[in-house]
Each structure stands twice: as C-alpha cells, then as structure tokens.
C-alpha cells in the first residue's frame, strides 16, 4: 500500500509540476520511481491492420462480440478498442454497426474519432468501456486528422489480486501519412502539447508500416523518455499497433493475439504502471 501511495504521490506531483512549467524541455530524469511488474493492466485492440474498416454491418461485428463474451469475458475488460469502426453518412439509412456489439456486451461506447474521408465516411475507433466518458480533448494531427483523448476509468490489478481503478488520460490515433507524423513531432508538435497537458498519458494506436521508423524518429528526437513500442505480431502488417507513454508512468509488457477470422485479430496488450 505504501508503494502504491508513494507512486501516486510522485506521479501526481510530477504531472502537476510539469503541467505548470514553462520550460519546453520537461523531464523526469531526477525521478526514480518506475512502473512496477506488481501492477498490471490489460486492454484489447481489435483490428484488421489494413486500410479496410472492421465491418459495415452489425453481423460483421459478431466476431468482436464473441471475442469479448467468450474468449476474455466482458466483465474482465475495461477498454476494448475496435479499430476502424467507420460509419458512412447516409441521410436515409446510416449504420453505426459497432453499437449492437456494445449493447449486447453491456459496454458503454465512445467514438475515438480519427478523420472524415471524402466528405462522407466518418473514420475512427469504437471504444468499449465499463463507465461513461466524462470528457475528451482532440488534437489536430494536420488538417484533417485527429488524436482522440478521452479520460477513461482504468482497471488494473496488483500481483496479490487487489483491484485498482483510477482515471487515465488515454490517447489514440491512426498515423496514415507523413504529414500526420510531421504534425506529431517537433518542438511545437502534438506530442509536445499532449506532454505539456498530461505527461502521464497513455497512447495506443496504429501506424502505417512505412511510417513506423519516421514516427519513432520524430518521438525520439523530441523526447527519449517517451517509449514507443510496437506490439509484437503486428510489425509486418500494413499497419502496426504501437504503445507510447512516458517511461516513468507506463511500461509496455507484451501482447497475445487471437484470430477472430476473416482477417480480423484481437490483441490483448499488457502494461505495467
């Protein structure tokens, strides 16, 4: 318990101090508290890791429902990210098909919006959650793309089985173009903005395979304390899943994957905090 309290105090103090500072070169190099293997949380990322949407009809999302209800058990999930749960505008018969899956699983949903394509397709992820989102700030990643930033109620466990829950600043995006990467890095880029606002954010998203190295370079050149990890098993897909967080707050541990059929895969991502 002491350790938990100490960790939180240090994290809160560091975040507060850093959030108020005017120095562009924010750093936690003097802080010696690190994520512990005693504290584990898991989230789930469902994706085709291609340019295709997860589905267009409610039936397309049945494997997603099956994964959460049968494979992992919906009660064990605090965050499911259903990548590319896109909606195509139609004044007469628009379909937001991921909602059926969320309803069946008794999840709350939240749209992690990414972009509008061709003026009519609304692209983004459906977040499956245990509690409603109370707020979110989006960051423009260039002219037409966004990093979504909702506050989420995380659930994790200590190694003795104790459940722990607190609010986290979650971020997600899909990096599809070099322009997205350019907007993210740099002295006044989105990473800098997000870091200034909430240094303890956790970002999980996808990046086009050809942009993995440019994105890593953009992050490293800005601040090497932000660790950029590619989820194993996604390195050679059209898109890779990445985890990005400041090293004093979160540590990527690993992931296991489950095929849901039809080119759809689910990744259970483990993290320490």
């Amino acid at each position: 318990m002491k350790n938990i309290l100490y960790s939180f105090v240090v994290m809160a103090a560091a975040a507060t101090l850093l959030g108020c500072g005017k120095d562009k070169h924010l750093t936690l190099e003097d802080v010696s508290v690190w994520p512990s293997s005693d504290f584990v949380t898991k989230l789930h990322f469902v994706s085709r890791l291609t340019d295709a949407a997860t589905g267009s009809t409610e039936a397309d999302f049945a494997p997603v429902t099956g994964y959460f209800s049968s494979t992992v058990g919906a009660d064990n999930v605090w965050l499911g990210i259903i990548d590319r749960a896109d909606v195509t505008y139609n004044a007469a018969s628009q379909q937001n098909s991921a909602l059926k899956s969320a309803l069946d699983l008794k999840f709350w949903t939240y749209l992690a919006f990414n972009r509008i394509r061709n003026g009519s397709t609304f692209e983004g992820s459906a977040l499956f959650l245990r509690a409603p989102v109370t707020g979110s700030t989006a960051y423009a990643l260039g002219n037409d793309c966004f990093v979504a930033g909702p506050v989420l109620k995380m659930q994790g466990k200590k190694n003795d089985g104790t459940s722990i829950s607190f609010d986290i600043y979650f971020r997600t995006a899909r990096f599809e173009t070099q322009a997205n990467v350019d907007a993210f890095g740099g002295d006044n880029g989105i990473l800098f903005q997000m870091k200034r606002e909430r240094m303890n954010f956790l970002m999980v998203g996808t990046v086009k395979n050809t942009l993995v190295d440019p994105l890593r370079t953009a992050i490293d050149s800005h601040d090497r304390s932000f660790k950029f990890s590619i989820v194993e098993g996604t390195e050679n897909r059209d898109y890779a899943i990445f985890v990005l967080a400041e090293e004093h707050f979160w540590r990527y541990v690993g992931a296991t994957s489950t095929s849901l059929g039809g080119g759809l895969d689910a990744y259970e991502i483990s993290l320490n905090w």
């Binding site: 628009q94 937001n96 909602l99 749209l111 989006a138 037409d144």
Partner: protein, 277 residues
C-alpha cells in the same frame, strides 16, 4: 464530348446527393425531455425506446438532446438506453453524467449523426433548495460541407436545470452553463435544454444577453408551450447572436398523436432547423 460532360454532371450530382455536403451547414435539431423512457403516469412504457425512435425517425433530426435520461439501471435490465436509441437511429451517443442511480446513471444524452471530436460533461451549481444534481454536456461535432469536406466544427450544448427550487437557482445554473460552454468560444453553438423556466425569466435572458457569462445568443424557439398547454420549459438557442438563420421551428404536440405517442413523455419534443450564415 457531350456524353463525357453528361456523365460527369451525373456523377457529380450523384456524389452531391449522397453526401452530407448536400446539407451544407443546415442542422435539424431536437430537444426532448423523455422522462427516462418511462411513460407518463398510468401509461407505463417499460423503458422501451422503440416508440420514441419510431417517432424521432419521422422528424429525422441531425442532433438530439435528451433530458431526464436514466440509463443502465437494474429496472432497465442494465441496458444503456442512449446507446440503444443511438443504435436504432444510427447516431453517435454521448451520455452526460449527473449522478449515479442504482447501478446505472442519470443525466442528459446527446445523439448526433455527425462524429464528435471533443466532448465535455460537467456538473452545474446546485444551490440550496434544488431537487438534485444537474449537469451540462457539450460535444463539438464535425459537419462536412462542400467547401470543407473535412468538416466544420459546431458545438452542441445540452442541459437540464432544476425544477424544484427558486427562479434565482435556475438563473445561477444558466449562468454556470453559459460560462462553461460559450464564454470565450468562437465555435458556432446550438444550446438545447429543459430550463424549467418561463420566457420572461432571468434564466432565459441570461442566454440572450451579452454578459459576463458569455456573448449573446439568439432564441430560436418561440413561446409555444412545451409542457402541456400551460408552460414553456424547453428551449433552443443559437450562438453567437446573428450567426445562424432559423429555417423552421415547431413544438410537436404529441398529445394529439395516436397511441402510444401521446403518453410517452410529459414534455413535447421541439424541433428546429437552422443554417450557419
């Protein structure tokens, strides 16, 4: 050459007709206190969203603000009612938390055909004498237009003020709502809500005046009663003043509609259509 031009024209027309850009920056919005999908006394609706959805479809709003939204409670079999309505209407849901009720929640809900990029939910002031905790919600939606296919940002505000305490309490809550959602903002905004207050009240003038809580709003709604034939309680404002043109506004007197529509709620839904100038 003629054929090419004709084909191009037809293709352009098809794209234009099938795209939200055809709607320009005109939005149809609905405000409705839905009495938790419960049905009025003596006419239990058993929290069935379907008759509400069937009626809403006839109005085809782009955005809806629901008040008195109870959801995911045990008497609802833990079903999240806003998502259920959103699924049937194919709209994006955003729930606004006021307080925990049973194992679920109570608050307001926003449904939108257009995606939201930013969301905000906040409790509002609770002066002495008020019935329970109330809240305000805001979502910034992106509406694609021909000139800006990546979307024009428009803010939708949804709130429900106290019904039990004094007029001064509601005025203070209105000030808080405006302060939190409009003050200092340059984003074109539509404000919807059950204000539980008449048209000549300080609560209403808080929104229409340019004051320390934010710039002036235009009142889109007229004085037609929205709670039986006696009270005007539900409102629709646009912000900033002069930025929107009203295309239409109507209070739908559901009591004159066939069963079960006349018994769904003790408030009438209001519908307004506005265009951003």
């Amino acid at each position: 050459m003629k054929t090419v031009i004709l084909k191009t024209a037809l293709a352009t027309a098809a794209i234009w007709l099938g795209s939200p850009c055809a709607e320009a920056q005109t939005l149809k919005v609905m405000e409705w206190n839905i009495l938790s999908f419960e049905g009025v006394t003596g006419h239990a609706n058993d929290f069935n969203v379907q008759p509400f959805v069937d009626f809403i479809r006839t109005q085809n709003p782009d955005v809806i603000c629901f008040n008195e939204l109870e959801t995911a409670t045990s008497r609802m079999n833990f079903v999240e009612k806003l998502t259920e309505a959103g699924r049937l209407l194919s709209m994006y849901p955003f729930f606004g938390f006021s307080y925990v009720k049973d194992v679920g929640y109570y608050g307001n809900g926003i449904l939108s055909k257009y995606p939201y990029v930013n969301t905000y939910s906040s409790l509002i002031v609770k002066p002495s004498g008020t019935a329970d905790q109330r809240s305000v919600e805001a979502v910034d939606i992106l509406v694609p237009t021909a000139a800006k296919p990546e979307g024009v940002k428009i803010r939708i505000v949804c709130t429900h003020l106290d019904h039990q305490g004094t007029a001064a309490n509601r005025r203070d809550q209105a000030r808080d709502v405006k302060n939190k959602t409009v003050k200092g903002s340059a984003i074109p905004t539509l404000i919807l809500g059950d204000l539980n207050q008449g048209t000549t009240s300080e609560t209403v003038s808080t929104f229409t005046a340019d004051n320390e809580y934010g710039g002036a709003c235009d009142r889109v709604c007229d004085n037609t009663t929205t709670y039986g034939n006696s009270s005007k309680l539900d409102y629709f404002f646009s912000y900033p003043a002069g930025a929107w043109t009203t295309v239409s506004y109507v209070v739908i007197k559901t009591t004159s509609l066939p069963t079960p529509l006349e018994h769904l709620s003790d408030h009438y839904p209001i519908m307004g259509e506005v265009t951003l100038n």
